[in-house]
């Protein structure tokens, strides 16, 4: 997760990027400690959903699926995550609100000290449920909208889904629940991006997360509907331009990019071209500490049956099941050669990623897309949109000690 607004609008000369990098021993230790951080855990509480979106990575269904974790098992899982030190649990699905014990689980997550946040399509957030989720201690709701009304409803397979989601967002905001947009950018909806942001800022939303399509679940069927790398570059540029325009007008919206760490490299290039070398260096320093693609390290997924995955999008492979073994035991088990290889991926990346000057801030972007498209776990991400001349050469700035660490969040 890369915060465009922070990198392009808030990181001034005194910003935390540089402060964080002050290269004395204590800061280095702090950075090493950061590497030990536990993953944000996405928990798909159900496979069931009231909508039928084209790009659903969880391949959700309208019918209840076999083997969903019960309320009691869910609480044991939350205990397990708390014991392991997971900082955040992102309740996801399917559509998590179809579980009527969601509030009970959110309350429990709070009690055991794992910060509960939610990813939802918004169309089941009635006034009552917005209030009960707020009362349960939910900290954030990310509501998916994937285009202006006609396009969104088409994508989601239900008429009125756009209006329903906006109604859900309003109900959250009325209940005092921090709410943001999730927008998965594809070829079909890229044109609507600014329109949706304009429309939702009017409703009161000030946080916008733009997701790149990853190629898992139902998404694999629409690899062809994804943006071309050139169009992706344009879309990301528009997110950058739009963010700066809003901030220039004094409207301090938060914008984030998720799911393609080539964005990290692009943001440095963008800052250099449209802002200044000094800004580009600040952006680079910040992203270097942020640590590149988090798959298998700073983000994890537990599906509705308790299977543990490397990210929420990578449902076709599971490390193990929390009904057999605790989450921490599964996540720490580096006798699994795949887990170890992913955590040391810089040694294995091939092609242009192997000597990319941005490898430290990107780490080859999505291994799942490389696997799906190239059938090669360590090939370059097919959705890397950097130009040849941008990826070659030494690192753009002298950075001192190598470091792979940093913050992550998955909402």
């Amino acid at each position: 997760m890369i915060s465009v607004s922070k990198l392009l609008c808030d990181l001034d000369a005194e910003g935390d990027g540089l402060r964080y990098d002050a290269a004395n021993e204590s800061t280095k230790r702090q950075i090493r400690d950061e590497k030990q951080r536990r993953p944000v855990v996405v928990w798909n509480v159900t496979k069931q959903c009231n909508l039928y979106c084209d790009h659903c990575y969880a391949a959700a269904d309208t019918e209840i699926a076999d083997g969903e974790l019960s309320t009691a098992e869910g609480k044991s899982l939350l205990d397990d995550l708390a014991d392991y030190g997971a900082p955040v649990v992102l309740f996801s699905g399917g559509e998590p609100l179809v579980r009527q014990d969601l509030e009970e689980l959110v309350t429990y997550a709070n009690e055991v000290g794992v910060r509960p946040v939610l990813s939802t399509n918004g169309t089941l957030i009635t006034e009552e449920r917005a209030q009960s989720l707020k009362d349960a201690g939910l900290k954030y709701a990310g509501v998916s909208v994937d285009g202006l009304p006609e396009r969104n409803d088409d994508f989601r397979g239900v008429d009125g889904a756009f209006e329903g989601a906006v109604q859900g967002i309003e109900n959250c905001l009325d209940a005092g629940l921090k709410t943001g947009l999730r927008y998965t950018i594809t070829e079909r909806n890229a044109a609507d991006l600014e329109g949706v942001v304009d429309l939702l800022t009017d409703v009161g939303v000030d946080r916008f997360c733009f997701y790149h399509l990853d190629y898992g679940g139902r998404g694999t069927e629409i690899v062809d509907a994804d943006l071309t790398p050139e169009d992706r570059r344009q879309a990301v540029k528009r997110v950058c331009d739009m963010t700066r325009e809003y901030h220039d007008r004094g409207e301090e919206i938060e914008t984030l990019l998720v799911g393609n760490y080539a964005d990290a490299a692009y943001l440095v290039e963008y800052a250099r071209e449209h802002m200044s070398d000094a800004q580009a260096q600040r952006v680079y320093e910040y992203l270097r500490v942020n640590g590149g693609d988090p798959t298998g390290e700073r983000v994890a997924d537990v599906d509705y049956q308790g299977n543990v995955h490397l990210t929420q999008f990578w449902q076709g492979y599971s490390l193990g099941n929390v009904r057999d073994r605790s989450f921490g035991d599964i996540w720490e088990d580096e006798s699994n050669p795949l887990l170890t290889a992913l955590r040391n991926r810089e040694e294995h990346l091939t092609g242009k990623c192997a000597d990319c000057r941005y490898a430290e801030v990107c780490r080859g972007a999505s291994r799942l897309r490389a696997l799906t498209v190239e059938d090669d776990l360590f090939a370059p991400d097919p959705q890397c949109y950097l130009e040849e001349e941008e990826v070659h050469g030494p690192p753009p700035f002298d950075t001192g000690e190598n470091s792979m660490a940093g913050e992550s969040s998955a909402d």
Binding site: A65, G67, G168, Q305
Partner: protein, 104 residues
């Protein structure tokens, strides 16, 4: 002697059949469980698992998860909660609860 009388019988498959994967990294090593892949057939499971493990493995087994009976010496990690209780909405409930902007 442990009885191994706790069977973990909840299904593992998400979208299609699930296959438990075991690999050996050297002929002298023990065969190790390294997770599972989703695939409609053993052949495709082999391809999926090979894409993840062939780099380092010398032996690879894929076993259908629904034919792999898992037993624990103690109760399963998450306790004995039965899978899929009635916490989830029915299709009719979902349909009637879905907001479509009617009251905006």
């Amino acid at each position: 002697m442990e009885e191994f009388d706790h069977e973990v019988d909840a299904p593992r498959g998400a979208t299609s059949r699930e296959w438990e994967v075991f690999v050996r990294e050297d002929t002298a090593d023990p065969l190790t469980h390294v997770g599972s892949v989703s695939a409609p057939s053993a052949d495709i499971a082999r391809e999926q698992a090979a894409a993840l493990f062939a780099r380092t493995a010398v032996t690879m087994w894929v076993c259908p998860a629904d034919e792999t009976h898992r037993y624990q010496s103690d109760a399963a990690t998450l306790g004995s909660g039965k899978a899929g209780d009635d916490a989830t909405m029915s299709v009719d409930e979902m349909e009637s609860e879905t907001l479509r902007g009617e009251n905006r």
